[in-house]
């Protein structure tokens, strides 16, 4: 019986051996380091799109904390997900600066364009829609982000252009990646 919120792996997921191997590869650098639970979970999520139970258990085993501890961290931090979502996050800012510049209207337009409400995933599995409290691009409000790539001054009639501009290929690599720009 799995804890509420952590789905058991089913046949529609990646085959068992492949998944376990991926998980172990991702978690190897964090072995024995309890303070790295958050980055470990984030790297898992980057690779698999969410934190499946098998990964949570492996984090627990490799980093030396209880499965309950891991579940506590996954449920606390808003960007960690225990369930599969679409491939890319469309994150519409509904913070105060965006709010006074029409964020709600924009959100409705994005919902209409994607055909899903906030929290939903598009049928093709490409995008899931969420709201965020501040992208830090308040000068370009109203703003949204596709994953971590911000797109500002988005008009409700131009949602498709905005989503195209936020393509992940232009997102900066972190962990000392290549020179961008």
């Amino acid at each position: 019986m799995s804890p509420r919120g952590l789905e058991p792996i089913t046949a529609k997921d990646v085959p068992e051996t492949g998944l376990e191997a991926q998980i172990r590869e991702v978690l190897k650098p964090f072995a024995g380091q309890r303070d790295q639970v958050i980055p470990a979970l984030q790297r898992i999520q980057e690779r698999l799109g969410y934190v499946p139970e098998a990964a949570a258990r492996e984090v627990s085993r490799l980093l030396g904390v209880s499965p309950n501890f891991v579940y506590g961290v996954v449920s606390f931090y808003g960007d960690l997900r225990a369930k599969p979502h679409g491939q890319h996050a469309v994150r519409v800012c509904t913070g105060p600066a965006c709010h006074v510049r029409g964020a709600l209207r924009l959100l409705r337009a994005v919902e209409g364009h994607l055909g899903v409400p906030v929290g939903g995933t598009t049928p093709d599995g490409q995008y899931f829609l969420e709201t965020v409290s501040c992208l830090g691009t308040c000068a370009n409000a109203p703003a949204l982000a596709v994953d971590t790539e911000p797109v500002g001054l988005v008009a409700p009639e131009q949602v498709d252009q905005a989503l195209a501009r936020g393509r992940p290929e232009t997102a900066p690599m972190h962990r000392g990646g290549r020179s961008e720009g």
Binding site: R34, A97, A139, P172, H174
Partner: protein, 558 residues
Amino acid sequence: MADLRALQETAKAKWEALEQAPRILVGDADCGRAQGSQGVLSAFRQEIERRHLSATVMPVGCLGLCSSEVLVRVIRPGKPPIVYGSVTPTRVPAVVEDALTSDRPRDMALGTWGDSNGWGLPNLLEDPGLRLQTRIATQDCGSIDPWDIDHYIANGGYTGLGRALGMTPQQVLDEVKNSGLRGRGGAAFPVGRKWEFLATAPGPVKYVACNAEEGDPGAYNDRRLMESNPHLVLEGVTICGYATGAVKGFIHVRTESALSVARLRRALEQMYANNLLGQNILGSSFSYDIEIKETGEAYECGEETALMESVEGKRGFPRARPPFPAQVGIFGKPTNVNNVKSYAFAPIIMARGAQWYASYGTEKSKGTILLCLSGNIVRPGLSEVPMGITLRQAIEVVGGGIPNGKALKAMQLGGPLGGFLPPSALDMVLDFDSLAGTGAMLGSGGNVVLDQDQCIVQFTRLLTAFNQKESCGKCIPCRVGTKRVLEIYDAIVHGQGRPEHLDRILELAQTMTSGSLCGLGQLAGTPLRASLRYFKEEYEAHVKDKRCPTGQCDMGKE
């Protein structure tokens, strides 16, 4: 300091070579990225190559004109820099023509950065809003490539650290104390004194933590600094390490602030490669490490004790104080926690001296504010202004006033745990202490401007929803209090409010203030009290007349 001199010579030679050819600087902090700076950079590179021109195209950080991004500055040797605003990839060929190949720039430029040399273009530095700015922490933002340590060093970077290493730690502490620098995270505690708590704490293991969480909606100065000049922040964290005897610094930053993280990580690699971190820094006996400690999305982790829990890999619950972080901190070791901006001023104070820094600002609030204007304002964006300017100057001169001929209704300062101010407060002074008693505070520099068409009740509901969502849950008064307050606001904005709700809001605010362990719960009542104080009639229209004066609330629906 022979090692530093060698670095400076190499860097200066590189910078001087750069200055010999035309340069095209493209605003590539998130304010620029949000407007497509990556595409503009590519377009410039292609156009330069196509025309076989000699010019360096480089990304830079935030120039302080965020509402005109993508900003491009073209600098030809011996000529004043020409600034173009709202540049898109399709406009790039015309900009290249105008700035580089024609005899003089025409009208498409915003102006020049300095005297326009008879070109008839406006001198942007004469613009009242820009003249009011005093760019200290942001002095290199928009001028240097944040990916290149040599640019930072050539323009004076690491001079502060070099000077600090030639002094005793106590002398460094005295310099920071004498500068009058106060913390920029919201509490405004004197930074030098705070560092001294760590310096006098027992070792051998002590830590420095940089709070780069920046969860306050409407505040983006920390991220802009990290994106535009990561080395400034890291140098400050290193100087603190030397002054306090710490062995390691942690930069606690959200993974979702991806550009900040990428630039910090690159800068960190460069520091290690140049003996600015690690063993025996710059040939001294001081050894120090820095770790970029990424965290998830949780506003509470911006609270200094919850931050430490997050660094330890746990859920971000606050701890009781005492003991304070300087006594028991990360992994139980003495720790100093300060905001990004508080560290960012340290290298400049060490390089230019405490007296120089203290010559800016007011008697009790030295230095500058990194002001984040947003909302219903003509020129939203980041500006660095001296402490002591008035709110009127911030809104009208820097911000350019309210767009579309509308009237100012309110200014929301200090984030979702901050207060509101009405237009009657415009002549009040912006510093740490002058707003005491008004129900508002400077906080971390955010100022969201509301015009006459914004419903204060709806807006306060938004802040409450944020506080409720972000409540960590540890304390019942905050966990349940924010929920109950939100329920009341939901009722009010849907026409179900009652007059007794207004008293109830204040009661709940009081309960949260008295019963919560950390600032989130304690201050969740601030925006409630402030909005009721200044906008009582608007609330009464909602709860007595079931009417929303601005029409923003759907008063009839559930």
